[in-house]
């Protein structure tokens, strides 16, 4: 007898593992982890889902949502594997992308041989069309029928897989772009055609053109991928469509993802931060730092007042010490992206010695051959090997589907680290653990102190296959008092996927001096955006939640800060409130006052359609004896006690809500292991999350 109740599937493709969550509407969860199949990630996805459905005995026909986190868009852009696409630009500006906006930072500055990356569109596939619009949206050079037909003919002759159309000031006057795009659709029916005003009508032609080009580049690949995935799932008996996690933390339908594929660039990372936000909300914490450590990388992000922090300056493949937002170091996309920092530090990260200095990562042993202790032929010492030698993982226990072998771990750490450094093996393991913590701390620093945010008031939410082993140490490094390891931490991002609603983010550039603006114009601007959003998420009976914001600046400035805007019809008092809020945000951000008049530049709207999703299952909390869940003990190493000490090991699944225990201790779950250092206490809350607190050894 199979389970016929509606079920939700979340599937997140990471660098090492593909994580699967199968959830029912009552909060029941089945989890799975299979090796990622990089040559065709779909194989791992389908395999993982099939496996989870089988174990849970759920009828595939009962699956009502499949929510997917994928790195496809980023891979297409970074690896340049997509078929050639065309760009149509205003006459005089065909070199827009080729002139580029590259920045030479750090070591590139001293490299006489530095060569900027080629733009994503070949010069031979860039076409100019005679037309011109002013910054106010007035037509300076009309777009003639001959010009439209001419450019469509030239584009058609090149037979590109995709066409991006980006004309100057199209955010203020989209008609020219639309006419050109329509003609291209008619002339090259097989091509994926997209215009900048459809995708992201925001001022600044270079970023807008890049954003549009990325859509044209990724669109055909995304459409084919999703179609193939839906067909494979259909073969499994799953009848619902696939939804894709967006970079802003919402979820979009496969059709919407094919229309605006650029919105999926940080799909997987966004899911993790979203998950942390949901955990935070469920335990009543509005400000959390998300820390997701998997096999290959660790990702951090922050949630403030319940919402993930968003950046509008994301660069695909970007670098610089600002976590991929240093302008000119990657492919810029002007969509909202959950503000993430990602470092090459995961359980599989390889430790190595160079010139007497110990390094960890960014290379990863992946799932194959994996850490030395996996017995799959890996000989390089990894973070997982170090954690095993420190007693945090169970020698002889299971992880990643294999039995861990401490002798192989010791051999690898000994030969590659301890001997060259002239220290003993436990010392080397400790050093690996500490160094990878430091790397991950830098990712926390990027999203907090580098953004001017003091992390000390936040709760650190640690998840991913390896995160719960490191989270307490990381918290201590920042003076963070409170740590939560969520139930099913090992697949935390996939939990985020099945907990999300359908969302669309929209923008419209409109420069208005707030002093002279009238409230009706502003109301209309936001109403139009909201109507568009509702239409994109079309469903007559649905419940929508709208969030408005505005990018504002002082007259004479070019950069904006984002300020929230009230719902509904706006009055004059709302305009003055907006100016006041902007002044406050400005002072908080820059630590200085300015008294110039405020200007609105972009209107932004996030439209959320509330849908069925996972809500965590709550349990009765009572005083419980943790010792009923005591599974054994082993020697684990902690600096506080000067080395190894006998440490109790608890079985997470048997720790009842309300249980409290005191470090040093280890809590083992099916998918993750929590290290509770000395000086910490751990409590299981009503959602079975483990809440760690320092300095209250009660």
């Amino acid at each position: 007898m199979t389970d016929q109740r509606p079920h939700f599937v979340g599937v997140d493709v990471g660098g090492t593992f593909t994580d699967v969550v199968l959830a029912d509407s009552a909060g029941g969860v089945t989890i799975g982890k299979v090796p990622t199949t990089p040559d065709d990630p779909r194989r791992g996805v389908v395999e993982g889902i099939r496996d989870a459905l089988g174990r849970a005995a759920v009828d595939p026909g009962a699956v009502s949502r499949v929510v997917h986190g994928t790195t496809l868009a980023t891979n297409v852009v970074v690896q340049r594997t997509a078929a050639p696409i065309a760009l149509v630009a205003t006459e005089g500006f065909g070199d827009l992308l080729r002139l580029g906006r590259e920045a030479r930072v750090e070591e590139d500055r001293y490299d006489l041989f530095f060569t900027p990356a080629d733009p994503p569109v070949d010069a031979r596939l860039t076409f100019e069309v005679a037309e011109r619009v002013s910054a106010k949206g007035e037509v300076l050079v009309p777009l003639t029928d001959e010009a439209i037909a001419g450019v469509a003919r030239r584009v058609a002759a090149a037979q590109p897989a995709g066409v991006s159309v980006c004309l100057l000031h199209a955010y203020a006057h989209p008609a020219h772009e639309q006419a050109v795009a329509e003609a291209c659709r008619a002339a090259v029916p097989a091509a994926y055609v997209v215009s900048s005003s459809e995708v992201w009508p925001e001022m600044r032609e270079y970023e807008r053109a890049m954003t549009t080009a990325v859509c044209a580049l990724v669109g055909p690949v995304m459409a084919a991928y999703v179609a193939g995935l839906e067909s494979s799932l259909h073969d499994l008996g799953i009848r619902c469509g696939v939804e894709i996690m967006e970079s802003s933390g919402g979820v979009m339908s496969a059709q919407a993802a094919a229309r605006r594929p650029v919105a999926t660039v940080e799909s997987g990372g966004a899911a993790g931060v979203t998950a942390a936000g949901i955990v935070g909300r469920s335990v009543g914490l509005a400000d959390v730092i998300s820390f997701d450590m998997g096999g290959t990388t660790a990702k951090t992000g922050i949630v403030r007042d319940g919402s993930p922090a968003i950046t509008h300056d994301f660069q695909i493949g970007g670098k610089g010490s600002f976590g991929g937002t240093r302008a000119g170091t990657g492919v810029p996309v002007k969509i909202p992206v959950v503000d993430l920092a990602e470092v090459g530090a995961g359980g599989g990260s390889v430790a190595w010695v160079d010139a007497g200095a110990l390094h960890v990562g960014p290379q990863s042993a992946g799932a194959v051959p994996g850490p030395a202790c996996y017995r799959r032929g890996g000989t390089e010492p990894t973070v997982t090997d170090a954690n095993l030698l420190l007693g945090y993982l169970d020698a002889g226990g299971l992880a990643g589907g294999v039995t861990l072998d401490a002798d192989l771990a010791a051999a690898a750490v000994g030969e590659s680290i301890a001997n060259p450094l002239g220290i003993d093996i436990p010392g080397a393991a400790h050093a690996i653990h500490e160094i990878v913590n430091e790397t991950m701390a830098s990712a926390i620093r990027v999203v907090t102190v580098q953004r001017g945010i003091d992390p000390r008031g936040f709760t650190l939410v640690g998840f991913g296959g390896a995160g719960p082993m490191h989270v307490a140490r990381l918290a201590a490094a920042f003076g963070i008092q409170s740590v939560v390891v969520p139930w099913a931490a090992g697949v935390g991002s996939a939990i985020g996927l099945v907990s999300s609603d359908l969302t669309v983010d929209l923008v419209q550039t409109r420069i208005l001096d707030l002093e002279h603006a009238d409230a009706t114009t502003l109301t209309q601007l936001f109403d139009e955006l909201e109507a568009r959003g509702r239409k994109e998420l079309d469903d007559a009976g649905a419940t929508f939640v709208m969030t408005r914001s505005a990018d504002m600046r002082f007259h004479g400035q070019a950069h904006q800060l984002t300020v929230s805007v009230p719902d509904g019809p706006l009055g004059d008092e709302d305009l003055s409130g907006l100016a006041k809020r902007f002044h406050e945000v400005y002072r908080q951000t820059y630590g200085i006052d300015a008294d110039a008049p405020a200007q609105l530049v972009n209107a932004r709207v996030r439209v959320v359609r509330v849908v069925d999703k996972l809500s965590p299952r709550s349990h009765q909390v009572a005083e419980r004896d943790p010792n009923v869940a005591l599974a054994g003990e082993r020697a684990a190493s902690f600096v506080e006690v000067g080395g190894f000490t006998t440490t109790p090991v608890f079985d997470w699944s048997r720790l009842e809500p309300g249980s409290r225990l005191v470090g040093p201790a280890i809590v083992e779950g099916a998918d993750a292991t929590i290290v509770v250092p000395p000086g910490y206490s751990a409590a299981v809350d009503r959602w079975r999350n483990v809440v760690l607190a320092s300095g209250e050894a009660s």
Partner: protein
């Protein structure tokens, strides 16, 4: 646990080093985002740096121009002369801009704030940007024809901007009153102060967390470590003295004078001596480079021969010894004008690269086309005055094994992310950019081609005034080892009557009527190696990509294309190349 202290130490060191870098980086972003000058906001990077109480450079923001970092480093001693360490208190903020005390020129304002630990000054936070306008005889700090510093704008000796956290309104008032854009310049100064405040806050956190002496120890180690790495790499250069020279195309004031930067570079046992003896006497025009700026060129050029990942701090300066003869282009006497110093700094870089290429032939490069600066100003349709500084880059020189990148100016400049985009410019100023394209055939021909320049056409909607300062226009960037020079750029005004006024490379306050167009072409970079040796398939690829015309392929490279223009006519190419070689054996 054995070596636990060493591990701990390594981690602490890492935290402190990255903390310092991040503080500088964050400050540079804060300055850019809160500034009021369009060309800063839209891209140009602000410099933010950390120095120690002895004036050593500790860290600087990653995209910072070395010219700016070196200026902050060189001007701190002047500040300390006026205000000794023990006279400073928390919340004090200082400014200066005197080129003869480490500054660059009037428009580049330097701001410093002392950072305290254990009740004494431990570090200085420094920021620097080119502010909107600070007077002088042309707008936006572009006094292209000035003949002394007094015509370049208001000079500030080291002065207090804030005293114990309170603004010194007298000084701020003087700065505003001397500007054509008082609101903008005030906003810019506030942005600089916001930047040093950010650094101070971050450093105070570090000092509080680890203790003053620990932070100082790791800073010292990090500087020593950089010095050791630079010296180790310099030891790999063959010892000897190498010579280089680079001619500057003119100062715009004395058309008959010739200007040359001369260097003798001696590599010896992990150090480099650079002697500028033989360099031309200082100019009457603005191309003079104050000592901090020449030094930045030296450091930059030498850094191209050592591991690029070495952090930029005082350790990179220590192995270098320079002789800068007084009264010359590279170390002028007051009150010589300095606003156009980039021409001399760049000439110093080219001369040193050329000299060291004798030691390392794989590092030979063609000369680059540098930066072409102009300012536009006027009164818009609503009667509001406006002004802005613009610039565009020429092509980079070719490198052994790769063509020069297009339109990026010079190796030592930070790339195109510092240029404003067209849409925000048009939204703010009464102008319409009619086109902006790579300039076909402008890259210097060679076995490796120089990068292309750019052609940009700007239509003024209301009457305006333009001031220009071009570089390497009269003498275009030379090629190396048989490579040809890049094509020479021009400034011109397309008049209503259909004529084009070609402007001198340096010209001030030229009037443009409403509806007329300002046309800028930036020079191409120099080529490397004889063009007849360029692989014909590379020439064809250039033609297909619009970098070289079919005519250019034949005339510059002796490559003949077939009728379709998409493939090489090999027999015709072979004949033409044979003829060329016969003409110039």
């Amino acid at each position: 646990m054995p070596n636990a202290t060493a591990v701990d130490d390594a981690i602490t060191g890492e935290v402190i080093r990255s903390g310092l870098l991040v503080a500088a980086e964050e400050a540079s972003v804060v300055v850019v985002r809160s500034s009021h000058s369009t060309f800063i906001q839209e891209g140009a990077d602000a410099c933010a740096a950390i120095l120690d109480a002895a004036g050593q450079l500790v860290a600087q923001s990653t995209a910072t121009s070395l010219m700016h970092g070196a200026s902050l480093r060189s001007s701190l001693p002047a500040l300390l002369e006026e205000s000794p360490l023990d006279s400073m208190g928390p919340g004090d903020v200082f400014a200066l801009n005197d080129p003869y005390r480490g500054g660059i020129h009037a428009n580049d304002i330097l701001v410093f704030r002392p950072v305290f630990g254990d009740g004494r000054v431990v570090f200085f936070a420094g920021t620097l940007i080119h502010v909107a306008d600070l007077g002088g005889n042309a707008v936006a700090g572009l006094a292209a024809l000035a003949t002394d510093t007094f015509a370049e704008g208001l000079l500030l000796p080291p002065v207090h901007l804030y005293r114990k956290g309170e603004p010194v309104d007298d000084v701020l008032g003087i700065i505003a009153r001397n500007s054509r854009a008082p609101d903008k310049v005030t906003g810019d100064v506030r942005a600089l102060v916001a930047g040093v405040n950010v650094i101070a806050r971050r450093l105070e956190e570090l000092v509080e967390r680890f203790g003053t002496t620990t932070v100082e120890r790791f800073v010292r180690d990090s500087i020593d470590d950089a010095e050791r790495r630079v010296r180790d790499d310099l030891r790999r250069l063959p010892a000897g003295t190498y010579h280089g020279a680079f001619e500057i195309d003119g100062d715009g004031v004395d058309p008959d004078r010739e200007f040359e930067v001369n260097v003798a570079v001696t590599a010896r046992d992990g150090s480099i001596d650079v002697d500028f003896g033989g360099t031309s006497p200082q100019a009457r025009g603005t191309i003079n480079s104050s000592f901090s700026q020449t030094l930045s060129g030296v450091v930059y050029a030498v850094r191209c021969f050592v591991d690029p990942t070495i952090p930029m701090n005082e350790g990179c300066f220590r192995p270098l010894h320079t002789r800068l003869p007084g009264g010359t282009l590279v170390n002028p006497n007051p009150p010589a004008a300095c606003g156009g110093r980039i021409m001399t700094v760049a000439a110093a870089v080219e001369a040193i690269l050329q000299a060291l290429a004798e030691a390392r032939p794989d590092h030979a490069v063609g000369a680059s086309a540098l930066i072409h600066v102009f300012s536009l100003s006027g009164v818009d349709a609503r009667g509001a005055p406006w002004l802005n500084l613009f610039y565009e880059f020429g092509g980079l020189g070719a490198r052994a094994g790769s063509d020069g990148p297009d339109a990026t100016g010079a190796f030592f400049l930070g790339g195109r992310s510092v240029l404003p985009q067209i849409e925000p410019l048009e939204a703010q100023y009464p102008l319409v950019v009619r086109s902006s394209r790579l300039w076909v055939d402008s890259g210097g021909a060679g076995e490796w081609r120089g990068g292309l320049g750019v052609e940009t056409v700007i239509e003024l909607l209301t009457p305006a005034v333009v001031t220009v300062r071009g570089a390497r226009m009269d003498l275009p960037p030379p090629g190396a080892r048989g490579g040809r020079p890049g094509r020479a750029g021009t400034f011109a005004v397309a008049r209503h009557d259909g004529t084009a006024d070609v402007l001198p490379a340096k010209a001030a306050n030229v009037e443009i009527a409403a509806g007329e167009r300002f046309v800028l072409r930036t020079s191409g970079g120099g080529g490397l190696g004889p063009p007849e040796r360029r692989d014909p398939h590379r020439v064809l690829a250039d033609v297909l990509a619009g970098r070289v015309s079919a005519e250019g392929a034949a005339s510059d490279y002796a490559v003949v294309l077939d009728g379709s223009g998409t493939s090489i006519d090999q027999p015709a190419t072979d004949r033409l190349r044979d003829e060329r070689i016969a003409e110039h054996p």
